[in-house]
């Protein structure tokens, strides 16, 4: 397999602006990056540098103004809203900073949502959700509600939800922000063990330097630009 075919996500000179009254704020000023299958790519940088905006345009939850984004050879800029929604449903798993677990649903019900959205029956979705929860060590917590779980356990439920429909792209927004360092490490270990596969790509936005060691590659952002690519987290720390 050539290097070219290994690329899962390609971002080329993407510009994104937000209008703020009469002025326009540039969140992305021609950002470019590539994410390959079988790797964990971390996007790092100071607050307000455009990390989350870049993540949002990569996963198609936000439209961009200029440039080109290709995910699994699909040009996101040419997709209509309906196609984009279906693309997300079938190809992307999300892990949010605040977990976004529905407090009134049990863990198994929370995890089964992506499958239900894909049209699976509740019974089938919950059966598969149980399997994934077993894999992340929450076999005893099927019927627990999120508020009955620790922060680390909630993040494991969120990881299960992101993986249950076997997406090819996992998007993580500050996955350790709400966790202590031990839980953060465990979460990344679990993510690396269960999410990382040759046909899958994981993109993590973070400013938590304690988890840089889990990245295969790191992209550094500043002021809407990608300012550095690092194959090793130690390079970043020396940069």
């Amino acid at each position: 397999m050539s290097d070219e075919t290994k690329i899962a996500v390609r971002v080329e000179n993407v510009v994104k602006t937000f209008s703020g009254g009469d002025s326009r704020v540039f969140a992305l000023k021609g950002a470019s990056l590539e994410a390959r299958f079988g790797e964990i790519l971390m996007i790092v940088g100071p607050s307000g540098c455009g990390k989350t905006t870049l993540l949002s345009v990569i996963c198609g939850t936000l439209k961009f103004d200029e440039g080109k984004i290709t995910v699994f050879d699909k040009d996101l800029g040419k997709m209509r809203n309906g196609d984009m929604t279906r693309f997300r449903r079938e190809n992307i798993g999300f892990i949010f900073q605040q977990f976004n677990l529905i407090p009134t649903l049990t863990t198994v019900e929370n995890v089964s949502i992506p499958l239900i959205l894909q049209g699976k029956s509740t019974a089938e979705a919950e059966r598969r959700a149980r399997v994934v929860l077993e894999q992340v060590g929450l076999g005893e917590k099927f019927k627990s509600y999120p508020n009955q779980l620790s922060g680390g356990q909630q993040q494991r439920v969120a990881i299960s939800r992101a993986l249950v429909h076997e997406p090819r792209l996992i998007i993580c927004d500050e996955p350790t922000a709400a966790l202590d360092s031990v839980s953060g490490h465990k979460t990344l270990e679990l993510l690396k063990a269960s999410a990382l596969q040759p046909d899958r790509c994981v993109i993590i936005v973070t400013h938590d330097s304690r988890i840089y060691q889990f990245a295969d590659r790191i992209v550094q952002m500043d002021d809407g630009h990608v300012v550095g690519h690092f194959d090793d987290h130690t390079q970043l720390q020396h940069a």
Partner: protein, 377 residues
Amino acid sequence: MLNVALKMLFRDRAKYAMLVCGLAFCSLLMCQQSSVFCGLMMWTTATVRNIGAPVWVVDAKVEQANEVIPMRQIEVDRVRSVKGVAWAVPLYIGIEQARLGDGSFQNVQVVGLDTGTLTGRPMNMTAGRIEDLRLPDSVVVDQVAVEKFRRKGIKIELGTVFEINDKTARVVGICHVSRSFLGQPYIYTTYDRALQYAKPSRKQLSYVLAAPQPGVSDRELADRINKLDGLRAIESDELFWMTIRWYIKNTGIPISFGTVVILGLIVGVAIAGQTFYLFVHDNLRFLAAFKAMGARNSTLAAMVLTQAFSVGFIGYGIGVGLASWFGNTVLAREAPPFFMPWQVPAFVAGVILFICSFSALIALAKVMRLEPAVVFR
């Protein structure tokens, strides 16, 4: 996802309870008050329904069933002379004073039926025989008389004697009829005896009851009788609605009940609408997450509508159920009036549908505008 929507709703117990209580209270208020209003309107037409004649002939100036403008006795013969009349009989209705055994007084509504035919007789006799009205001094009293006299310590039974305007009345029967608007007991007797009970007057005929011959409709007969000077013939149905319209137009009853119904609507919109909006607002973050995960707008709309109409249906059911229970309880006591035609629950269902749709639409506007990217903020 509709299952998920319902679980999100039912398990948010505080808001769910608030929503259901708000809508149930709103339904109860509107259903109960509308039914009491309908019951009150039914009381105003008790005479029409109790007598049950096809065509009523009254003085030309009469505007509703409970307004009696006495006519001359000869009007019965004038009506009988109209072509197409199968029969025409006199009817006396007047408020008289009854003196009970202990010397206390009670206003009663004396109904004088045609002596020969007893046309307009009560259909439901609970004791005695209506034919015994032809015996001297005999009267048939209704259940209201029994109840009112009982409260005064007098037990009414067959053979009980009391006085109406100083003339003897002996109970030969007890009947059950619709009670009158003013709540005065009905005392049935023959027309001739009713005139004896009544205070002397030149004109004493209250109504002429008539029926058409086969092949002539009630409407046609009424039209023919209307050609007679000074008389007005009204079909039973028309008199019923004329009376209700008169009470709606000339009394404050509709305003009073209407105000409560509007209050119910406001309570529904304010409590249920606001709570539902808050419920959706609190879940916006999760709805945005669903949207990011690939939920279509139509899926989210279906979820919100399912939630809104589910609480609406449950609240409506509880409210109408409670109103029915109230009705069932008071019907046994016959006061306050209660009548729930199918139009009342249908109207309340319409209002609840409006409240739920209104609440859902306001919430939906927010959901439809929701950017999935907000989950990353």
